[in-house]
C-alpha cells in the first residue's frame, strides 16, 4: 500500500492551501492531493467574477486567478496530485480508497485533510411544487454551463435565493443577455453581502423581492413561468398576493450543504448546526489525525477566510505526522455559541495548543445595535459593538494571547449577543 504523510481530499482552494502549508511544515514531504474533477481549483474555476483575494492578497482577483496562484505553487513545489479521481472510502485508520481509470487503489496516510467542499441545495430539497420541466438549474450548474462551457441557458430567468451566489448569477445572466425578472428571497433580508446587492442587482435594475416565495413552477417541456407569493413570518403564503412571472429558466441558489458523507465513514462527528465536523483550534476533527477545512467544515462567504483556515489545518496536519501524541493527550475546552449566535468554529480549544485563534461564527437573525460578548467563568473577556449583524455575513473575533492568558480553561468559553445599552 502506498504511504503518504498527508493526504488532502479535494483540490479546491481549501485543499490547495492546506497542502501547501503541510508542505512547508514537513520534512518528509510526501503529500497527495486528490481531486474528482479534471482540474485543480474546484468551484473557483467557474467563479469568473472579481472580488477574490482582497484580504489575503490585498488585491482583487477573479476566482480562476485566485486558484491559479495556489496551483502554481503546488506545481512549483512538485506536490503530487491526482485529478479525475474519486475517493470511495476513508477509514478511521486513515486508509483512503480511490478509484480512477487506472483502477482501485488503497493509500495510507499519517494525517488526512478533508477539503471536499459543499453541494448545492436543490429544488427538491426546498420542495417547491409544480411541474418538472427542463430549465431548472442550481446556480452552480448554470455558472458551469455559462462560464466554463460557453452556453446560454435561457432567455428569461427568475432566481430563487439572494445569497451571494444568487446575486452574482443575477448579474452574470444579465451580462449574457438573459433577462432576470426577479430575485426571490423568502427571508425579509438578503443573506448576500451588501456590496453584491448594489453591484449585482441595483446597478442593473433587477428587483429583489424580499419575503417572497416561488410557490409553483409551471411548464411541461421547458419552464413557462413561476407563481410567486408574499409570505408571512412563518413563510406561509399570504392569500391574494400570488402573481405569475413568465420565464423559461429558474435558478435555485438556496444554500450549500457541506459534503460530509466521506467524513462520516471515517468516524468524524458532525455538528448539525454547521453541517461540518466538530473541530478544535488545530482544525482536528473528532477522529485522530483527520483535519477539516473550507466549505466541508462550514459554509464561507469569502475564499480568503477559507485559505487562512486551510493553512491552519495544513500546518497542524503536518505537526500531527511528526508528533501525533501531542494531539492524543489534548484536553478540550468547549466554545459555545449562545444567545443569537447560530454556530461557532472551532467548537473546541485544545489546551495543548493555546495559541492565538480566530473564532468564526454566524448569527441566527438580522440584528441591530448588539454587542458580541466573549465570556469565560463569568468574566466578560471581550466586548465588540456591532450596529448590524446578518446571518449572511460570517463574523470573527480573535482569541489573542492576552485573552488566552486571562482564561480558565476548565470552564466553557461562551460567545453570545447582548443588547447594546
Amino acid at each position: 500500500m502506498h504511504e503518504y504523510s498527508v493526504i488532502v481530499i479535494g483540490g479546491g482552494p481549501a485543499g490547495l492551501a492546506a497542502a501547501l502549508k503541510s508542505f512547508e511544515n514537513l520534512d518528509d514531504k510526501r503529500i497527495l492531493i486528490i481531486e474528482r474533477d479534471s482540474f485543480l481549483g474546484g468551484i473557483l474555476n467557474q467563479c469568473i467574477h472579481p472580488g477574490f483575494g482582497l484580504h489575503y492578497f490585498k488585491e482583487e482577483l477573479t476566482g480562476p486567478e485566485y486558484a491559479q496562484r495556489f496551483i502554481e505553487l503546488v506545481e512549483k513545489n512538485g506536490i503530487e496530485y491526482l485529478t479525475d479521481t474519486h475517493v470511495m472510502d476513508i477509514t478511521p485508520e486513515k486508509e483512503v480508497t480511490i478509484v480512477n481509470k487506472h483502477g482501485l487503489k488503497k493509500l495510507k496516510a499519517k494525517a488526512i485533510v478533508l477539503a471536499m467542499g459543499a453541494r448545492e441545495r436543490t429544488r427538491g430539497a426546498v420542495q417547491i411544487p409544480g411541474t418538472r420541466p427542463a430549465g431548472i438549474f442550481t446556480a452552480g450548474q448554470a455558472q458551469r454551463f455559462i462560464n466554463i462551457e460557453g452556453y446560454k441557458i435561457g432567455k428569461k430567468a427568475v432566481i430563487v435565493g439572494s445569497g451571494d451566489i444568487g446575486l452574482i448569477m443575477a448579474r452574470r445572466l444579465t451580462l449574457e443577455g438573459i433577462e432576470v425578472k426577479a430575485v426571490v428571497e423568502i427571508m425579509p433580508y438578503s443573506t448576500g453581502l451588501r456590496r453584491n446587492i448594489v453591484q449585482c442587482l441595483e446597478d442593473f435594475g433587477i428587483p429583489l423581492l424580499l419575503s417572497h416565495k416561488v410557490v409553483k413552477i409551471h411548464g411541461n417541456e421547458r419552464v413557462e413561468g413561476v407563481t410567486i407569493s408574499v409570505v408571512d413570518s412563518d413563510f406561509k403564503e399570504i392569500p391574494g398576493t400570488q402573481r405569475f412571472i413568465e420565464c423559461d429558466t429558474v435558478l435555485f441558489s438556496v444554500g450549500l450543504i457541506p459534503e460530509n458523507e466521506l467524513s462520516k465513514k471515517a468516524g468524524v462527528v458532525i455538528d448539525e448546526r454547521t453541517g461540518g465536523p466538530f473541530v478544535d483550534n488545530t482544525f482536528s476533527t473528532t477522529a485522530n489525525g483527520i483535519f477539516a477545512c473550507g466549505n466541508v467544515l462550514h459554509i464561507h462567504d469569502l475564499v480568503d477566510n477559507v485559505t487562512l483556515e486551510a493553512e491552519t489545518a495544513g500546518k497542524y496536519a503536518a505537526l500531527y505526522c511528526q508528533n501525533p501524541e501531542l494531539f492524543q493527550k489534548g484536553k478540550l475546552t468547549n466554545i459555545i455559541a449562545s444567545d443569537g449566535i447560530r454556530y461557532v468554529v472551532p467548537q473546541h480549544l485544545n489546551r495543548n495548543f493555546l495559541e492565538p485563534t480566530i473564532l468564526r461564527f454566524r448569527v441566527n437573525n438580522v440584528y441591530h445595535d448588539k454587542v458580541i460578548l466573549l465570556i469565560n467563568s463569568g468574566k466578560k473577556l471581550l466586548k465588540i459593538k456591532k450596529q448590524y449583524l446578518s446571518p449572511g455575513e460570517m463574523e470573527s473575533i480573535a482569541l489573542s494571547e492576552k485573552i488566552l492568558s486571562q482564561m480558565d480553561f476548565s470552564e466553557d468559553i461562551i460567545l453570545k449577543l447582548e443588547d447594546d445599552k
Binding site: 478509484v99 411544487p129 409544480g130 427542463a134
Partner: protein, 479 residues
C-alpha cells in the same frame, strides 16, 4: 407499405412492454408505438414500485386475479430480466378498533383471493419488528409476500428483452387515427407516419379511452387520478424494513412509507382526481397531506431529508376493474385499459395472458430461439472491489465516476446510450446518475457531455426528456 405487423401494442409502459416481451416469445412480427421518446414515460415511471400481495382487490375481479398471479410470477421474471426485486413484506397498520376490523376484512379477502402467509400481528410484534413506528399502532396485517421493485427499470428491462427477441418500438409515435382496412388496422401518428397490423392492443394508459374510441371500440372513461410523493435521502439507519401501509379507504391504499430497492425512503401517494391527463405537477396541499399522513406512521420523519418530490397518475377506469378483453364489436382490437394499482404487480401476469390470447387467435408457435434473459448494465456501485478492478482493466471508463452520489461510472452512461437512452431522464432511469442527494447538480453537465459525444450532436440538442425540453439554448463561444 412494408411496415406490416401481426401485432402492434400502443403504449410503452410496463403493461405494453410486458405484453410485447411475452409476444416476442412467439413466431410473430410485432411492434409497439409510444407517443413519448422513451419507455416508461407515463404511469410506469412514477408510482410506488410495490409488488402487492393481493389482499386488497375484491375477489373475482381482474384486479384480484392478475394481482395474485403477478405476485407469484414476479420473482422469476425479475431474475430473468436482472431487475431488482426484494420481497420485504408489508404491514397494514391499524390505530384503533375500527381499523383493526378492516384488517380482519382484508385478511379474509386475501385468503379468498388465494394470498398466502397473511397474518394479523399484535402491537408488540409490530413494534419489535419495526422499531421506528408510532407507538400508538395497535395491530397490523402482515403480508410476507409483498415486495418492492423499480417500476421503470422493469419496463426498460422488458423493452430491452423484447428488442433482443426481435420486437420493434417506434418512439414519438402519438396515435391520432385508427382505421380498419381489409382485416388490418392502420394507425397514424401525429407526425404522419403509419403502420399496419392484424391485431391492435391498446395499452395507452391514461389515454386508453381515447384510443378505444378512435378504433370504434367499447366506450369507457379513464379518470386521471394523481398521487404525490416524496423521496428521502438514503438513511444511515433503516427507518422501516417493510412496506408500511395505513388501512385503505375507498380512495385507495393510502399513503405508505417504504424503502425503495435503491435504498431511499419513499412517502406517498395521496389520491386526487384531476382535470388534465398530463398534469403531473405537485401541489403544496398535496405534499402537505402526504407528509402529514406519513408522519402519522413514523413520527420522526423530517423534511430535511427530502431530496425530491414528484407525482404520478393512475389510469382509473369507470368500470372499477381492469378492462382486459378483445372488443365485442371490433374484432382483433384488444383493450388492456384502466390498469391502475395493482397494475405494476399485475402487469407480468397480464402480459402472459394477453400474449397467450393473441398467440391462440393467430395460431402462433413459440419460437425455438426465444431468449428470456436480459442482463442489466454492470453497475459500479454493486460490484466488489476485485470485480471493479477487472472491469476497469477491460473498460477504463468504468473507473471514471460521473455521478458521485450514486457512484455511477462513465461506462454505465455510455452503455445506457447504447441501449437506447437519448435524454437526461433516460440516462437517469437506466443508471441512477442524477438521482442522488445532489439531484444532478454535479453530474448533469458531464452527462450532457457524454450524450453529446456519443450521439454526435451539439449539446444544445440534448433534452431532458425529448420534444422541447432543451437544457442549453445557444452556444455563445468556445469550441
Amino acid at each position: 407499405m412494408d411496415k406490416i405487423y401481426d401485432v402492434i401494442v400502443i403504449g410503452a409502459g410496463v403493461v405494453g412492454m410486458s405484453i410485447l416481451r411475452e409476444l416476442s416469445s412467439y413466431d410473430l412480427k410485432i411492434a409497439a408505438v409510444e407517443a413519448m421518446e422513451d419507455v416508461a414515460e407515463g404511469a410506469s415511471k412514477a408510482n410506488s414500485g410495490i409488488v402487492h400481495a393481493g389482499y386488497d382487490p375484491i375477489e373475482g375481479t381482474n384486479k384480484a386475479k392478475f394481482n395474485v398471479e403477478g405476485n407469484r410470477m414476479f420473482e422469476e421474471l425479475c431474475r430473468q430480466l436482472d431487475v431488482e426485486y426484494k420481497m420485504i413484506g408489508a404491514l397494514v397498520v391499524a390505530f384503533d378498533e375500527k381499523e383493526i376490523n378492516i384488517l380482519e376484512e382484508l385478511l379474509q379477502r386475501g385468503k379468498r383471493n388465494g394470498v398466502k402467509g397473511l397474518e394479523i400481528k399484535g402491537k408488540s410484534w409490530v413494534l419489535e419488528n419495526e422499531t421506528n413506528l408510532n407507538r400508538e399502532i395497535r395491530a397490523a396485517l402482515f403480508a410476507p409476500y409483498s415486495g418492492i421493485t423499480n417500476p421503470y427499470k422493469l419496463t426498460i428491462a422488458l423493452y430491452e428483452n423484447a428488442i433482443q427477441n426481435g420486437a420493434k418500438v417506434y418512439f414519438g409515435f402519438k396515435v391520432c387515427k385508427v382505421e380498419t382496412q381489409n382485416g388490418y388496422f392502420i394507425i397514424y401518428s401525429q407526425d404522419k407516419r403509419l403502420l399496419k397490423t392484424r391485431i391492435l392492443v391498446n395499452c395507452a394508459g391514461v389515454r386508453a379511452d381515447e384510443i378505444s374510441k378512435m378504433a370504434g371500440a367499447r366506450k369507457f372513461t379513464i379518470y386521471p387520478r394523481r398521487g404525490q410523493y416524496f423521496i428521502l435521502d438514503k438513511p444511515e439507519k433503516e427507518i422501516v424494513k417493510r412496506v408500511i401501509f395505513q388501512v385503505p379507504t375507498e380512495k385507495g391504499k393510502g399513503v405508505l412509507v417504504t424503502p425503495t430497492v435503491d435504498g431511499n425512503i419513499l412517502l406517498g401517494p395521496n389520491s386526487e382526481y384531476i382535470e388534465c391527463k398530463d398534469d403531473t405537477s405537485t401541489t403544496q396541499e398535496g405534499l402537505d397531506e402526504v407528509f402529514e399522513k406519513a408522519k402519522r406512521v413514523v413520527l420522526t420523519l423530517t423534511k430535511k431529508d427530502v431530496i425530491t418530490i414528484f407525482s404520478g397518475i393512475r389510469a382509473t377506469p369507470d368500470t372499477h376493474d381492469f378492462i382486459i378483453e378483445e372488443d365485442e364489436r371490433v374484432k382483433n382490437f384488444i383493450n388492456v385499459a384502466g390498469i391502475e394499482s395493482p397494475g405494476l404487480t399485475s402487469s407480468v401476469a397480464i402480459g402472459k395472458y394477453v400474449a397467450g390470447m393473441i398467440a391462440e387467435k393467430l395460431n402462433a408457435k413459440q419460437k425455438s430461439n426465444f431468449n428470456p434473459y436480459r442482463e442489466d448494465i454492470k453497475r459500479f456501485s454493486e460490484l466488489t472491489d476485485e470485480e471493479r478492478n477487472e472491469m476497469i482493466k477491460k473498460f477504463p471508463s468504468f473507473g471514471n465516476i460521473v455521478c458521485r452520489c450514486e457512484l455511477v461510472s462513465e461506462y454505465e452512461i455510455v452503455e445506457a446510450i447504447k441501449r437506447g437512452a437519448r435524454t437526461i431522464d433516460g440516462i437517469k432511469r437506466r443508471t441512477r446518475a442524477g438521482m442522488g442527494r445532489c439531484q444532478g447538480g454535479f453530474c448533469t453537465p458531464r452527462i450532457i457531455d457524454i450524450l453529446s459525444r456519443e450521439l454526435n450532436v451539439d449539446k444544445t440538442q440534448i433534452t431532458k426528456f425529448g420534444k422541447n425540453s432543451y437544457i442549453l439554448i445557444e452556444k455563445r463561444w468556445g469550441k
